[in-house]
């Protein structure tokens, strides 16, 4: 994945995803209204049999369809709910093959498959546009921008407050090697600094194709002599899921603790991994 185009892409991708979702929403509403208003005519058209229950089944499917439509207009991301509807529709039509009109049912199945494919596309697009948003977080630290910058720039010390990092090794002026533990195992990548203003900002990106990642951190003097406003922006591949907003925010909070108090602050409950009551841990294991 080319993370460069991804950073610039979210709005465009978002727009396309929204348009596709909304189109499917309109389709849901139209089909749903037809099913509710004219179930008999529709039954003839799609070839299902004309038993007494049929109009009611179609009305129920129609009501559900309208539900999808309204849901999508309220929140285009909920387009995935249509996949559930598709499964129900396919099951119904398959069942209708028992005694329905096959010459009509086959084209109906075909239409369902086509719409289903669109639904899958729309769902993926919605997910992608969700993940392609950069994660941002900021924190005010009662130290000068220069001091904050210098601490951050000392990459080998980052694991002190970035909990998921095992190690960072500086290879040369611009390049470094990163090792992280993640829910899917150990991840390793090389990163390079792409732009740097000493005391002000650092931008970096991964040069390992399997680990698309870019980030930027800025250090600005906070108004009123309150130290430094640090802003981090990270962009990463959805699968890595390493840098969620909560995680980045936690990093910054620990960075603030290190700078302002000298180390990462722990309580009895947070001194060990996992859930632990607020009482001393048996063996004094430190996270």
């Amino acid at each position: 994945m080319d993370i460069q185009t991804q950073t610039e892409g979210p709005e465009i991708a978002d727009d396309r995803a929204q348009r596709l979702a909304k189109g499917l929403g309109v389709f849901s509403l139209g089909l749903g209204l037809a099913e509710v208003a004219a179930p008999r005519a529709l039954a003839r058209l799609i070839g299902v049999d004309q038993s007494a229950a049929t109009p009611w089944i179609l009305r129920a499917l129609g009501a559900r369809e309208i539900g999808h439509g309204l849901g999508i207009f309220a929140r285009p991301k909920s387009v995935w709910t249509r996949l559930i509807g598709d499964a129900i529709d396919v099951a119904y039509v398959a069942w209708a093959f028992r005694d329905g009109k096959r010459s009509r049912l086959w084209p109906t199945m075909g239409a369902l498959a086509a719409v289903g494919a669109l639904d899958v596309l729309a769902t993926l697009a919605a997910k992608r546009s969700e993940f392609s948003k950069p994660v941002t977080s900021s924190m005010t630290i009662n130290r000068s921008p220069e001091e904050c910058y210098a601490r951050w720039r000392n990459f080998s010390q980052l694991p002190q407050f970035m909990r998921y990092l095992e190690s960072v090794t500086e290879l040369d002026e611009r390049r470094s090697h990163w090792v992280a533990k993640s829910p899917i195992g150990v991840l390793e990548w090389d990163a390079e600094i792409t732009a740097e203003l000493p005391g002000r900002s650092i931008a970096w990106q991964s040069v390992s194709p399997h680990m698309p990642l870019r980030g930027r951190v800025t250090f600005e003097a906070a108004p009123g002599g309150r130290g430094t406003e640090i802003c981090v922006e990270m962009q990463t591949a959805p699968f890595a899921k390493l840098f969620t907003r909560a995680e980045v925010n936690g990093d910054l909070r620990r960075f603030k603790q290190v700078l302002e108090t000298g180390e990462v602050v722990v309580s009895d409950a947070t001194s060990v991994p996992g859930l632990h009551p607020a009482q001393p841990a048996p063996q004094g294991v430190r996270r």
Binding site: V266, S267, D268, L275, A278, A281
Partner: protein, 390 residues
């Protein structure tokens, strides 16, 4: 060591748990000599504060002897006798430097949890839920005290535990409640709640020069203590008189210049508004019952101050915003910034301005903590304050 642990709603037990260790270089380990049960502990006991876990050690009012110090604690040495403030504060962040110690930005390792509930996080607090850090409390034989170079106050020889123990919380809290009223000569202060915090708010309002101090509660023994020991000039038993009418009468129809809420989220009351609050609190739709707070707002003089030191946990319904806004009231509140009051109030104690021991009604061993909770909650045996000796 032995420690009083929260095991569930209305269930605390003294259990054997591991001894605390130094975890950060600015920690100290304190061997606890005296510790107390607070109205705030009752909120935990009754299950109204979220994010408690089975096994959490309770207690945030404690003092004792320094047993061990981390390598960066230079101001304390082994053997020093200290009182520990209940909020944990780093002393170096923007909030600490502004004197807002209970809003310390570094001392709550679970700040993300508190942010979810409150928008921004306050400081960590000993023995007060995981949302406020997950720190083991002081109803125990030993406690780990983080930022021991900032919080603990060294106690000079010649003062007893009982004289200084309440510097850890309720004396400073009551004092801050009165200080936030900006009392000027001739002013009238009304205090809802004549519990330990209310008693110190009354005593402090007197030290700060209030002309008239009205205590409101329903327990005669508490009201009597307010009148005889703390320095209230008038007492109102809301079971017997209409608080509104009595306050109008006592203030020439103006209302008190300042109203202090020393009751908090478990206010008791009568009638439909109370039943409504209680039902919602039971159903966990709301954390807070606000009878006293509403009354404090509605009765405060135009342009007056409502000082809220009673603890609230979540969201408040039926808040009299119209009264509050249209009458130019000011609300001031907070968990007490204990650190900034400890030294000056210690001096007040040494000068003889106030003897805080007047509120102690029960002395027990740490092992009797569960009994202490029951007695304090039920207001049995005229219970005002329980001190546990570890």
């Amino acid at each position: 060591m032995r420690a009083n642990c929260w095991m569930g709603k209305k269930d605390v037990r003294v259990e054997t748990v591991p001894d605390p260790k130094i975890l950060n270089s600015r920690d100290a380990i304190v061997k606890i000599s005296s510790t107390a049960i607070c109205g705030s502990d009752l909120h935990l006991f009754n299950g109204f504060i979220p994010t408690m876990e089975k096994g959490d050690i309770m207690g945030h009012e404690f003092m004792g002897e320094v047993m061990e110090v981390g390598r960066d604690v230079k101001n304390l040495k082994v053997g020093d006798r200290v009182v520990v403030p209940f909020p944990i504060a780093c002393g170096a962040c923007g909030s600490c430097l502004a004197g807002l110690y209970s809003c310390c930005e570094n001392s709550n390792p679970n700040a993300w949890l508190a942010e979810k509930m409150m928008g921004h996080s306050p400081s960590g607090v000993f023995g007060y839920s995981h949302m406020l850090g997950g720190f083991a409390g002081g109803q125990a034989e030993y406690a780990r005290v983080p930022f021991a170079d900032v919080g603990p106050l060294k106690i000079p020889n010649g003062l007893t535990d009982e004289q200084v123990l309440f510097l850890s919380d309720i004396f400073p809290t009551g004092y801050m409640g009165a200080e936030m009223c900006d009392i000027k000569p001739g002013q009238v202060v009304a205090v809802w709640g004549a519990g330990p915090v209310g008693q110190f708010a009354i005593a402090s309002a007197k030290m700060l020069g209030a002309e008239r101090i009205i205590a409101i509660d329903r327990f005669p023994y508490r009201l009597n203590m307010a009148l005889e020991k703390a320095g209230a000039t008038d007492i109102l038993n809301y079971e017997e008189v209409s608080v509104r009418e009595a306050l109008l009468e006592l203030t020439g129809g103006r209302g008190p210049d300042a109203c202090i809420d020393a009751v908090g989220m478990e206010a008791h009351g009568h009638g439909i508004p109370y039943a409504y609050d209680r039902a919602k609190q039971m159903a966990r739709i709301d954390f807070d019952r606000t009878v006293a707070l509403r009354e404090a707002i509605l009765n405060c003089k135009n342009g007056g101050v409502v000082s809220v030191i009673g603890v609230y946990g979540g969201f408040v319904d039926k808040f009299p915003m119209g009264s509050f806004m249209n009458r130019s009231l000011t609300m001031r509140t907070g968990q007490c910034h204990v650190h900034r009051y400890m030294q000056p109030l210690l001096e007040r104690i040494m000068n003889g301005d106030l003897d805080p021991t007047f509120i102690i009604t029960h002395r027990m061993q740490l092992g009797d903590a569960p009994k202490g909770y029951d007695t304090f909650l039920a207001k049995e045996e005229s219970c005002m304050k329980v001190v546990l000796k570890a």
